[in-house]
């Protein structure tokens, strides 16, 4: 799993008052498994954009960690 992305995901979790996820798996779904709501996803989008300069959510919401990771790594 991409370290930078793991850190951003955990920052967003911690930020909304939840414990970090020690084992982020590619097949995990952002909403159902990680518990992201729309606001968390919005924050995730802003944080990723400020880290890599690209809005990876612009082409639509990624559903899984894997989908997010591949978009993230394509752009970094």
């Amino acid at each position: 799993m991409n370290e930078q992305l793991t850190r951003i995901i955990n920052d967003v979790l911690e930020d909304s008052g939840r414990p970090p996820c020690s084992q982020i798996e590619p097949e995990m779904r952002l909403r159902e498994d990680l518990g992201f709501d729309s606001l968390d996803l919005a924050v995730l989008a802003v944080q990723i954009e400020s880290a890599i300069g690209v809005d990876v959510f612009a082409i639509g919401l990624p559903l899984t960690v894997e989908e997010l990771r591949s978009r993230f790594e394509q752009k970094t």
Binding site: D15, S16, G17, S38, L39, L41, A42, V43, L44, A45, V46, Q47, E49, D55, F57, A58, L61
Partner: protein
Amino acid sequence: VSKPFLIDSLHDTHVSYEKLAYDVTSKKSIEEPFDEEFECSSLYELYVWLVAALASNATIAMLQSGKIRFIRVNPVNKNEPTSIDSLVEACGRSQALVGILTSGTTDQPKLIWHTLETLVRSVRVDRSHRDDVWGLTYHPSHFAGLQIFFQAFFNRNTIVNLRGLSPAPMSGAIKQLQVSHISSTPTFMRLVCSQRDCFPKVQRVSLGGEICTEATLGLAKNTFPNAKIHNLYASTDAGQLLISDGNVFLVPREFAEQFQVIDGELAVHRSLLAKSLREIVDTDFYLTGDLVRVHQESPLTIEFLGRRTDEINVGGFKVNPLEVEAAILAMDEVVDARVYGCSNSVTGQVVGCDIVKKVDADLPTPKFRSRLAEQFPAYKIPRIIQWVDRLPSTSSGKKQRRS
């Protein structure tokens, strides 16, 4: 000893009214019509050109960073007496057109042309103002800065420049030069008050240009214990309009027919507008862009909530950044805060904020958030938080509203 017109320690300026009169009438270049921009090297030079333009009924644009553009110049009549009395008198009946840039907290600044009518609407000249000393905190080219100039100039008061000074020398200047009147934005006032100093000799403090929270009013009351503290509502579009001692403004009887609230936004009659706007506005009422809450219909009593363009839209939920800012500013640990929208493709915008903490404050992010959660739904609570040393502000001393 004649009275100083301007004391500006940043430029080593200490000039009398007599010297101003002399310098204005000896401006040779004003005799030749020209249309060009030039940058004034000091606050004093800018005032000399402004007075020269007023005395000669010129058309003059006040641009950014102290630049001036003369559009049309009528030569100063060299045969006229050059005393300060005749100069002040000539300025008082001036037909000059003065272009002022809108402050542009969110939009590109644009030039609005004023005649003396809208520029000096709120200026009061009488003996009770004879010994006032004005602290200038605004950019001299902006509407609020020009208000200070006119109020001081027509009463022959001394202007003390405070703008650009860091807090310690500013405190010194207010005390040593016995500044009696200060007009500033709430943002600037929080900077002055951050020194925890006390200025018992200041008689009047006017706040304007932005919404002033109760917390800021309270700070000003502690810092200026003997001053009357007022809140002003003015705009570059219409000049100074309302005055209040709190956040709720009563529209005075003489304006009763000229104010309306349309869909939560304040509208003023076109007759109150600056000349150039009055000429192009084709409706009777002009929307100011200022959102208000009506406390009473008659006489109209309103509270300002913020600019329409500042509203943050989080997935369809509207957030007024000033409401959130007020809650943050009410926290003891906080010196200043700026709330704004961060664009994203998930919810359109999400609330972000920059916060300046007090030096010794213990306010970790989770504690900060949980306090706001006591009063706000989740979408209003800032999610992008940056702890900073200083907030960005516009050249007019207002908080920068763009993210």
